[in-house]
Amino acid sequence: MTERRKQEIIGRLQGIYDEFEPLENEPELTMFGLISRYNKKYQNTELIGGDWVLKNCPSPLKNLLV
């Protein structure tokens, strides 16, 4: 993965995080919720998941509940 692509993904994930609104059945954004939303919104050709976020993303993304 190129650094440019990595930063693009991080930016998209951060956008999902910023736009998250708590729901009754989802009171907080978890790593599962983050990746699930990412897959629905974008093409996840690299199949990134929670471990990729922990390794590559800054806070608060890497601090999401796994």
Binding site: N25, E26, L34, I35, G49, V66
Partner: protein, 192 residues
């Protein structure tokens, strides 16, 4: 003025003149009207102590893994003498299947008969708040190995539950879309 009351019984001493660990048996009046002092003993002279309760740990073993259509997220886990293992599956596509190995076939390709309830071709997605939960049964009771598969949790628990030292567990995405899978294991040690 505060009055002292002396118990009508006798303390038991060791050869050095020091009181030993003892208790008052109020129902045995042979030692006095207040009861009889008796030594506290256990195996090898130690006190019998029984721990009760349980210890519970929840661990994420598959962390929001993206799984292509038809693919499988899998993990080999190591156990530490647990009394029971429960698997909590969270997945955003369906159908899906949860599988696990057993003591004689540790690969998750063994299938779903090691789990109760059986989670083969489940047609419902799940969430972190409300995951799908199954008890791990190392004996994999099913007709294929000469058992009648359990139909209740009580029947499932009637089979020995101590898991093997390692086993592989997997979640297969049987949908036509990429799925996200989080798998957690609830480890329970029951102290007797």
């Amino acid at each position: 003025m505060r009055m002292k009351r002396h118990l009508d019984t006798e303390i038991i001493y060791d050869k050095n003149g020091k009181p030993i660990p003892q208790y008052l048996d109020v129902n045995d009046k042979s030692g006095g009207t207040d009861g009889t002092m008796k030594p506290i003993t256990g195996d090898n002279g130690a006190q019998n102590i029984q721990l009760t309760g349980s210890r519970v740990e929840l661990e994420t073993v598959i962390n929001a893994q993206s799984v292509v259509a038809g693919g499988r997220a899998e993990k080999t886990i190591t156990t530490a003498g647990e009394s029971e293992l429960w698997f909590l599956t969270t997945i955003d596509q369906q159908p899906w299947t949860l599988t696990a190995g057993n003591p004689w076939y540790s690969n998750a390709g063994w299938g779903s008969s090691s789990l109760f309830p059986n989670r083969d071709m489940v047609s419902k997605t799940t969430t972190m708040q409300v995951p799908n939960i199954s008890l791990y049964m190392p004996m994999s009771p099913a007709a294929s190995v000469g058992f009648t598969a359990p139909t209740t949790i009580q029947e499932a628990r009637a089979f020995p539950l101590s898991p093997p030292r390692t086993l592989e567990v997997g979640v297969r995405n049987r949908s036509e879309e990429t799925a996200v899978v989080t798998l957690r294991v609830l480890r329970i040690w029951r102290l007797k």
